[in-house]
């Protein structure tokens, strides 16, 4: 793996953490949504991360030196899955989406959980930015050998 490959690995994580933060904010925004195009209340969503094999370009670049192995894989979002938890039912007969008994099905979203997840995503993002900064400085130093 060359130094630029390092940046590619960290960049994949930046993208993945950003998707995670987007999904969490979407959960928070829709914490009270009782109507969705699919019908019923909004379902909480979660991202699933998986490791990513090095890209073709990266493998080609290091074809001369067999330095790639299982140790250097980026991350990618494998999918966004719905949380199967049942909706929270609250008694509110005046609500337009209340059923015959006056109960409304709200999304099962705990704002505290979502905020903790958002902070986790922000911290992981920060950490990957540090890794990119380190890689940038190392490249810069390698260039300075030439001076």
């Amino acid at each position: 793996m060359n130094l630029f490959g390092m940046m590619e690995v960290s960049a994949s994580a930046l993208g993945a953490e950003r998707v995670r933060a987007e999904v969490v904010t979407s959960n928070l925004a829709n914490a009270e949504s009782t109507r969705t195009p699919e019908g019923g209340p909004y379902q909480r969503r979660e991202v699933v991360f998986g490791t990513q094999r090095p890209s073709f370009a990266l493998s080609l670049a290091s074809a001369g030196a067999p330095m790639q192995d299982a140790g250097s894989s980026g991350v990618r979002v494998r999918g966004v899955v719905n949380d199967p938890a049942p909706p929270v039912v609250k008694y509110d007969p005046s609500h337009p989406d209340a059923n015959a008994d006056g109960y409304v099905a709200y999304p099962n979203i705990n704002p505290v959980n979502e905020m903790a997840d958002l902070m986790g995503a922000a911290r992981a993002y920060e950490m990957n930015v540090s890794a990119i900064t380190a890689a940038k400085q190392m490249i810069q130093q390698s260039i300075e050998i030439l001076k």
Binding site: M6, V9, G120, M127
Partner: protein
Amino acid sequence: MSLVDTPLMKSLASYLDVTAYRQGVVSANIANIDTPGYHARDINFKQELDKALGSPDAPLTPRTQGVPGLQERPDGNTVSLDREGLLLAQTQLQFTTGVALLRSELKRVSMAIQEDKGS
């Protein structure tokens, strides 16, 4: 052995290669900090450096291995942010040291060339 390509330079080049490789492994660990089932990986720095110093012209083929003794989280991930953050800083400083030594060695050779001009 030639004058401009000293053994120390070759050793430093191997050192920089191994350090940069390790930094790549650490980056991959940090990238996968939230990937379920991912196990932190690392290289045996001493062993890989010995190997690289033993045959400086051969391509670097480090072997990564799982890191023992790490706490596994409920999702099966063993990446520790503290460990990786520390390694990131440490490896970067090692690389900086290697670059500084390489530059001073080049300066030494350059100085030898300059001195020769005077006589």
